[in-house]
């Protein structure tokens, strides 16, 4: 292909179009918020519902963040929903039937998740079985395991300490209502601004780095907005805090570690990675082990929010997570993806669920509309890529 040598200057309208394209998912999310607020007469945007929305999103967005790395490496994990079911069942049964403390149940759950992930990693990396098959097998087997562990019965009640993970809010100091959330929001908001000021230096650097500055402003506004909304209700929900922690850790892993960079390299060009001396097998093994742990964390959040474990818990969750990752900008071809995008993607999916439930829409319509959104999101992505 003959290459264009002319560099792209960029008219304002072009730059505007590019900016829209880059933030398309975020814009879509704002539109969804607006539409549902209008249709529900404001109920959607109430602080109570927004707090609720964050609780609903938590488990899927945690899985979706792990899924981003898996898809970036050129693989897929279809087992996540069944892992949630099996790990949730195991932790619940320990509490309900053996009277285990939350810490013990969680430890066992984490090890269980890690073992499942290592099992996947072993077959995919060292035995060369495609990930779609390995995880499909686990999807079936672990659903069976969930039935066996729960003996087909709903396992409840769970230990209050365990329920705290999924149902409570940040504990307060008792100074004033939701004091910790408010103080935390102010500290983090200021912290981000200060780091930004230090990094970008003088005012000239801000104008030069307009997109950087805009990003930091957007991040600060988002932190203050989320903190504000949560303060106005019952404080920061614990699941949302866990999501933030997983986001920070996985973003760090993806962008600042050798492991993360090499996962992106494997997804971009596996042969190049091999020839550069990357131990691809070890990386894929590690990646699926990590995915097992991340999914186990999602299982705790989900099980604790529901308050019980059942054989069908988490069914179809893997598909929601995959959809969230892709809506959030992860390319199914591998090599491209962002952890933060997955949270936005998950939020789009749950917003649809939440909003349509508020409108009392029939379940059949809900599924069809979600399907359509997914289709459109991927189509939009394809069109953007073709334009380059």
């Amino acid at each position: 292909m003959e290459r264009t040598e002319v560099l792209y200057g960029g008219e304002f309208s072009d730059r505007f179009r590019q900016a829209v394209a880059r933030n398309a998912v975020l814009i879509a999310l704002v539109l969804l918020f607006a539409v549902f607020t209008y249709l529900t007469g404001g109920v959607f945007l109430s602080v109570r519902n927004l707090s609720n929305l964050s609780l609903q999103t938590a488990a899927v967005s945690i899985i979706a963040m792990g899924m981003v790395l898996v898809i970036v490496s050129g693989n897929i994990d279809l087992s996540a929903g069944s892992v949630v079911g099996a790990v949730g069942a195991a932790t619940a049964v320990m509490q309900v039937q053996m009277g285990a403390q939350p810490v013990a149940a969680i430890s066992v759950g984490l090890v269980f998740g890690l073992c499942i992930g290592m099992w996947h990693g072993y077959w995919i990396a060292y035995r060369g079985v495609p990930s779609i098959i390995v995880t499909l097998a686990s999807m079936l087997a672990l659903r069976g395991a969930a039935i066996a562990i729960t003996q087909g019965k709903t396992q409840a009640p769970l230990h209050p300490g365990f329920l705290w993970i999924g149902q409570s809010y940040l504990p307060t100091l008792g100074l004033f209502p939701n004091d910790t959330t408010i103080i935390g929001t102010i500290i983090i908001g200021l912290g981000v601004l200060m780091v930004a000021v230090k990094r970008l230096g003088g005012s000239s650097a801000w104008t030069r780095n307009k997109s950087n500055a805009a990003q930091i402003m957007a991040l600060t506004i988002m932190i203050v907005a989320i903190g504000g909304v949560m303060s106005a209700y019952r404080g920061m929900p614990v699941p949302l805090l866990i999501v933030c922690c997983v986001w920070l850790v996985l973003s760090f892993v993806a962008t600042k570690t050798v492991f993360g960079k090499q996962v992106f390299a494997i997804g971009g060009n596996a042969r190049a990675a091999v020839l550069s001396g990357v131990d691809v097998k070890a990386r894929i093994f590690g990646l699926f082990s990590l995915m097992g742990v991340v999914t186990a964390i999602a299982a705790f959040v989900f099980t604790a929010r529901v308050g019980s474990a059942s054989a069908s818990a988490g069914a179809m969750m893997e598909l929601d997570a995959i959809a969230a990752a892709i809506i959030g900008g992860t390319s199914l071809a591998g090599g491209i993806g962002s952890i933060g995008g997955a949270i936005i993607g998950a939020l789009v999916m749950t917003t649809l669920d939440n909003g349509m439930s508020l409108l009392n829409l029939d379940a059949s319509y809900q599924l069809a509309i979600k399907a359509l959104i997914l289709l459109l999101a991927v189509w939009f992505d394809t069109v953007q890529k073709r334009r380059g």
Binding site: E2, T4, T257, K261, A273, L275, G277, R387
Partner: protein, 527 residues
Amino acid sequence: MSVIDENPNAFLLRMSSISKSFGSFNALSDVNFDLRTGEIHGLIGENGAGKSTLMRILGGVYPASSFTGEIMIGSSPCQFHSAHDSENAGIAMIHQELELAPNLTVDENINLGREVNTFGVIRSQKNLARTAAVLQRVGLAVIDPHTKISELSLGQRQLIEIGKALVQKQKIIILDEPTTSLSLVEAENLLSIMRTLANEGTALIFITHRLDELMAVSDRITVLRDGKLVGTRSTDAVSTEGLVEMMVGRPLSQLFPQRKSMPGSQALEVLSWTVPDAKRPGLTRVKSASFSTRTGEIVVFAGLVGAGRTELARSLICGYGAKASAGSLKLGGLETSFASPKDALRKGLAYVTEDRKDDGLVLRQSIGINVTLCAPHKVSRFGVISQRKQTEIASQYIKSLNVKCRSLDDPVGDLSGGNQQKILLAKYLLLRPKVIILDEPTRGVDVGARLDIYTTIAQLAESGSSVIVISSDMQEVIGLADRVIVMCEGAITGELVGDEVTEGKIMELAIPKSSINSLLEDKNGTH
């Protein structure tokens, strides 16, 4: 060119009596090869001569137990059991298909697998410093290390690959046809950087089909033929003709078939054809191009890479991302337009792509299937493919084009570049198009296969087809053409016939006027 030291201690690498066979086929028999510190050593031969096999042995792809002979690095014998062993011994292989991750940045690619880190956390400043130093050495200091690889040109990517080898501090760098897909300027730049690296003490093995480049840059040249060593010569002591003779095994008086130009009636006529850029609205890739061709005539489109020749050809058959915004097209004297490449093919205009791997062939499918891919009606009845018919047709073309293969059922991907190109040609010959456009038909093709392809092109013209060839190879342009059309920056800048067809005239028309002026200024400045 550096002075060749006859001191035996200066040998960095010595491969002695290397033999390797696949089944009953002897890929290499008793080949010797050596390399001195700081030299550029050319390795040439036709496809199948054993160059790749020899380099794969050196690269550890074929482990020590699978061949006989000895490899010495310095004064110590080496046994490579894997590509990793070879790498650790200081050998870097730069593959023809560039092995970079397009989704990552220059910095990330250069350091990939060797990131400076503390407990797995990347020290980005240290990595960046290393990248900057390497970019400086390969002449890419102007490139921002945060640029994504996908935004770089092929030539720049090639240099990044070399940069990677430098990070690894490799003493020997093997370059497998590095200039094949580069423009003239990029290729020259690469060659001069190779020279600099050699002067700094790195030894380079340079595999290429372009003898002029080899003559310009190498210190010594080794020629292989049919798995045997023909000889190693000092570059000063050989001529291009001599090398070709060594490669082919017989004097090659004429690379291009002698033919009389006998233009017939008008075949294709294009009038003020204008094509916008597919990705960037507002830019124009082809500017009001008008030309015509006749039956029995070979017209060559010359120009620099990026001149718009491929876009012109692709847009004619409706196979470019954007449609022509103006212009008309006559085929055999009748005004036509095409709805799709398939439609163009049906009406008698075929375009043979320059990118056989991505656009031309189904690499994993058999030779038979590939040859008949465009003409299912010729091998099937009621949608059912006749295996017998397919074999019959494919073997006919295999024979006439002199394709070297074991069986028609082999996947095309297993063939050498030259033979793949022949299969691609066969695919379109089967359809007997009135006008056929061949885009860089000999890119990455060895001398022997070139001869076959040129002969086929000549036969096509003789049989009354109108042949259009897009070529960046000067020798080819001059040797093949009845008429040369030169393009520059999207516009046709001139047409040359007969004695006018010279390298100087073509370049004069091909180089943008602005850059000629700046070249002149440079010259005046130095004097």
